[in-house]
Assembly symmetry: C2
Homo-oligomer: 310 residues x 2
DNA sequence: TAAAAATACTCCATAGGTATTTTAT
DNA sequence: ATAAAATACCTATGGAGTATTTTTA
């Protein structure tokens, strides 16, 4: 019992004739005969009564016909769905974004893409860099934008843009208003950090390592699961932190927080488009990648720096 | 794209491995490879990403998998339905019956069969002999019981039982109470007849022909579409008729009608099981035929004759 | 007699196998 | 080093054809 035989069988039922069915599917009459015989021996019963002029289904044949029609229809739908999937940019697509990209980069990208391709339903999944990376590797997500490089060789990451982090303090902090602060002072200052999976934390750790230091050299007073919690911590005087300025743009402009540089430290960090190296991207994914590379043709800063209230 | 390949494809997706899928369907790993390659070239896109240890579906592959599962399930349902159809006596079955058998023979048969096979829904379709015969030939009905032989060579009819018709007159008719009446008198008497398709009418016509007569030799005052109308006609004094005594059993017993013989005329008639000679009977139909032949192992009279009120 | 299906046969495309190489962990 | 898929190559089943016979209207 295969689709081809079912198709032939249906044609015989519909045309009431072996030879006419043969014409319909470009097969000879004896070939039709043998296929019907095959089906009959497979099911162990007669399916078509050959009544001289007419070939008519038996009751068993009618039963099979009903089922066969449904199967063949489903087959056609499958072919159509597969063609559709490749031929058109439509459907549902989910991009992953870690905290900073998810909040400050992807919304614009997703909006712009949705505008150009109205038939696409886009959604944004937010997590920390580690979570998003893991999901692109496991296949749950096809694409992500994160603030950290993966150590997994299966990850393919391309640099999208650059950002320069800064030290953020509350407005009434003694350092508020200063241009910069030295590392030694910072090591003694209560410090708030993101959780381990965070790209921001990894960027900080990476820069400290370049200076021969580690996070353990600092006075970590809290580890927060998201950027908003860090910001609240700073505002409430719990400690200071190093953040992407885009995350505190409003607070800096309104004077509710204050940003400064760290002397001798290079606080640049990158954001990366991330996917599994070997997984085949869907047409939708390809279109989204093309769109992103159109918008960010070369890596550059997200926003102008030094957005402190003037 | 055929069912076998879809099955293999699904196994690969489920086992995440070509060789494991091979084990599952008793095929070698290279054979699996080639089937997947076939499918991929058929759809024009990659369906499975070979990620070293794991073989995982692409987005297109997942889409196909969803469809394939439904198709394969439908295939299983089809196989099950076909097996069920042959293996068990259950489902719906319609028997045709002409007027007399439909009213006096089949109800008992249908009742008895339904009792023995509780999973069968039986129904009885009533028409005159000609209609029922036509439907068994066209395929609308698999089986019928009628009171006439068909001239169509496609009809296969086996004699089920015998009945002896009688002349029926109203109680105040001058012939009421007589044992019999001669043909010459009957020819002058107002006569009520069934419609052309009726088996009763054909039986009468057949017997007249044997005597060198035809219906046109009688004074036909009415042609009625069913037996009840004929009975009403006789009761109202419109005329007399020749009927199966079973149809007027109650009227004879209560004295509301009176039956007598016709001298020199043999009014026996037969009832026949009727089906299309070449159509394959369904298992249900076969079971019903077996049951009927069990109940009526040899042709005989339906009921004892001469049921007039004593 | 004509039209349709069955039968008989021939052929070749391909599903399937084995042996081996390549690739990735 | 191992395990899995790809590749190469071979074989044989069976799907498809043509020619012919049988059947039935």
């Amino acid at each position: 019992m295969d689709l081809w035989q079912l198709n032939i069988f249906c044609k015989v039922v519909e045309r009431k004739s072996f030879s006419k069915a043969g014409k319909a599917v470009h097969l000879s009459q004896p070939t039709i005969s043998s296929h019907i015989r095959d089906l009959e021996s497979h099911f162990g019963c007669r399916l078509i009564d050959r009544l001289g002029k007419e070939a008519v289904p038996t009751r068993a044949g009618s039963l099979l016909y009903q089922h066969a029609r449904r199967i063949l229809q489903l087959k056609d739908e499958t072919e159509a769905a597969m063609a559709e999937f490749q031929g058109s940019i439509k459907g549902r697509f989910v991009v992953g974004g870690s905290t900073i990209p998810g909040a400050y980069i992807l919304p614009r990208l997703v909006g712009g893409f949705a505008e150009r391709f109205p038939d696409v339903t886009l959604s944004l999944e937010i997590g920390d860099s580690e979570q998003i990376l893991a999901e692109t590797l496991s296949g749950g997500l096809e694409l992500g934008v994160v603030g950290a490089l993966s150590t997994d060789r299966r990850a393919e990451q391309i640099r999208l843009m650059e950002d320069v982090m800064c030290l953020v303090v509350p407005p009434r902090h003694p350092w508020a208003g200063r241009e910069s602060m030295d590392l030694e002072s910072l090591k003694k200052e209560p410090f708030i950090l993101r959780e381990r999976g965070s790209g921001t934390r990894q960027a900080i750790a990476g820069h400290l390592k370049a200076l021969g230091l580690s996070i353990d050299d600092f006075r970590i007073v809290a580890e927060m699961g998201n950027t908003q919690a860090v910001i609240q911590g700073i505002k409430s005087g719990l400690g200071v932190s190093i953040l992407s300025p885009v995350a505190v743009e409003e607070e800096l402009a309104s004077g509710r927080l204050f940003a400064l540089k760290v002397e001798g430290a290079d606080l640049r960090r990158n954001f990366y488009l991330t996917r599994h190296k070997d997984r085949t991207p869907s047409p939708l994914c390809q279109a989204f990648i093309r769109y992103i590379q159109e918008v960010y043709p070369f890596p550059g800063p997200i926003l102008p720096l030094d957005a402190n209230a003037k």
